[in-house]
Amino acid sequence: MKPKIFPQQKQLIPLFCGIITIAGLLLSSCNSHSSGGQGAISAQEAAQQVYVAPGQYDEFYAFMSGGYNGQVSVYGLPSGRLFKIIPVFSQNPENGYGYSEETKPLLMTSYGFIPWDDAHHPELSQTDGIPDGRWLFINANNTPRVARIDLKTFETVETIEIPNSAGNHSSPFVTENTEYVVAGTRFSVPIPQKDVPIASYKQNFGGVLSFIKVAPSGDMDLAFQVMMPGFDYDLAHAGKGKSKDWVFFTCYNSEEAHTLLEVNASQRDKDFVAAINWKKAEEYVQQGKYHEFPGTYYDNRFDTSTQTAHSYVHQGVKVLIPSECPGLVYFIPAPKSPHGVDVDPSGNYIVANGKLSADLSVFSFDKIQQAIQQKQFDGEVNGIPVLKFDAVLAGIVKSGGLGPLHTEFDDKGNAYTTFFISSEVVKWKLGTWQVEDRQPTFYSPGHLMIPGGDSRKPWGKYLVALNKITKDRYLPTGPELCQSAQLFDISGDKMKLLLDFPTVGEPHYAQAIPASILMPRSDKIYQLASNHNPYVTRTEKDAKVVRKGKRVDVYMTEIRSHFVPDNIEGIYLGDTVYFHVTNLEQDWDAAHGFAVEGNRENAELLLMPGQTKTLKWVPVRVGVFPFYCTDFCSALHQEMQGYVRVSSPNDNVALTWSTGKE
């Protein structure tokens, strides 16, 4: 705990320390911490605010996107403790997700099995504009997909592919009652895809914004798409309250450049926010004013009753063309290359941050409606009216910062914006547009998050900045460093930095919800009685081994601390063995694992109480191979093991299985 000067630390404020001499001595120096700026508080105070005593729970669950690990990591707030990783678009050897036969279909796409993606924006389901703790949605950027995680189990239960889309970035943001999840394309591409010169961009490329309908059960269906000009659609947020029928998307590259975008897509002074009336879109779809476009896409659903995912392949999608649908889309001019688009809790203010501009532009929903009625247009693009900038502007925040990206809100009428280039969070007041406070971050924050901070009811106690760069901030680990999150207390007038914690992957965005909403919904076990997996083995006497040609199905059970069967003979080289393992336990946290030697393509299985999972195993050698439980399940965990004998096809070994026969 030596004093350390960080590159962006502006000054060392003389710190109030004295009264607690013991704690002060233990810390060796009161100047040893690194929270620069005027919001600095003593390390002791900060530690006390984030310390969660043994056996106590964190107040909030924070879900952070995994970025390029394709997962979601779950942290407690205020402690910053990582306590779960939920695999979504990537295989996870820890629990066999994407390796077990039951979960492999969740990673199926029209391109085939894709066990990786780049996941950017977690989004909690909402009721009346407030996070309700039912589901978490997240996008796959690379092979366009949207996933749904059930928060009863923290497991991925659906992935749906988005056709005609590329770089699924402005996704997945929900409408006020989770009627729709939107998924806008970052990259414009030929629609439908075809082999054309890239130089024909302006003639052949388009950008689609997709609307996924969410059923009360949670099941997702691609309802329709809106065909937009060939811009890059970057982020989105749905309206709320008075603006609940609308969704707003930022776009850049209104120049429709296709090479060297850092120069060629920065020509114009303004780009756009696209405002789409989804209620109008529904009407147009009902009136049949859509075009049927081709497009093959997968919808993969995990059925909790059978504990198995299935892939459903769909063809074709309904597409609305704005020029044929008056009142469906309007463009709002926004400062050059806007990134985030954020709607305040009242639903009236829409903040669009031009990342190449120092100022924040805030638009008024009331003024937008008025401008539409009075036809205050500044021309049109592809039949989409462009609203007059001055007619819809509510105010400009003269921030003095560089590179504004994302804004969230507290419950006291304040907004907080990250500034990527000047590495800070700026707090400003809605209505007065005055800056109230600013705090440095370490370094280059992208999104920030306040629990419920994009909803109608923020829990404005904490703010988390998600930083892209961490050099000098943690112990060095070679050239590659972790990313970092920083927790601020925002309950007072000034933001106070409380904690840094390293994160997994490159988290882009996060959502958080009070633990008290999630905890009563949590499932403790899977009821064995309602396990309808076709390969379930409910009792030990039902365990068996069945051969059909070269396929062998092992119906196996696990309970502390043995397998049935634990000795299997009569398997031959050239067979494909399916271990269908059922965990018979009905007690919380009584998990068992299953792994077998020489398993080339798959991982282990990790089975929660009452679950059935299947591991495919193709033996490649003759011999006797052990299998064992991978999760330390009881005092006799090490005794939880068995053997499979693999014979040459020339031999004559009967198919037998047993447990407990000497």
């Binding site: 704690a23 310390y51 106590q56 309970i559 005092a635």
Partner: protein
């Protein structure tokens, strides 16, 4: 198992609490280590031990065949992973158990095994005899546990009449 504690932080904050606050907001989860009843398993009458759990007293009458039948089904589905009637398997043979143990003890062992194997002297001894194989909590209802008791009584009743 997988829990780690930042000892230094704990130490600092712990001292801070002691130094500045009169009340220590430590865990409410900390369970008192309840001392086992004074009688040891070997000296007291095992039938006096009602065990620890939700069942305070059970009224036994003549064996109810319907209930025993229901208990047999539950036994075959849920208990045979570890128990046999006539022979030791993972756990003890269950023939004669209704003569060895009080009916309340049997039901509490079914319904509350986690606490029983930690605190009840007979249950602790049985875990030792089973080489550390613990009784799994199957989260049965009290009715299901009562049915199992009836089945075990019927087994012991028929074996005594033979």
């Amino acid at each position: 198992m997988k829990k780690k504690l930042n000892t230094l932080l704990f130490l600092i904050v712990g001292l801070w609490f002691i130094g500045c606050h009169s009340s220590n907001p430590a865990s409410q989860q900390a369970t008192e280590n309840v001392t086992a009843p004074a009688a040891s398993a070997s000296t007291a009458n095992p039938l006096d031990d009602k065990g620890i759990g939700p069942v305070q007293s059970v009224q036994l009458g003549a064996i109810q065949p319907e209930l025993a039948k229901k208990g047999e089904t539950i036994f075959n589905e849920k208990c045979t992973a570890c128990h046999r009637i006539d022979s030791r398997y993972i756990g003890p043979a269950l023939k004669g158990v209704t003569r060895r143990q009080a009916p309340e003890w049997i039901m509490n062992m079914i319904l509350n095994p986690d606490v029983m194997i930690q605190q009840d002297p007979i249950a602790k001894q049985l875990v030792g005899e089973s080489n550390g194989a613990v009784m799994a909590n199957l989260h049965l209802s009290e009715d299901e546990a009562r049915a199992l008791l009836e089945y075990l009584r019927s087994v012991d009743d028929s074996s005594s009449s033979k």
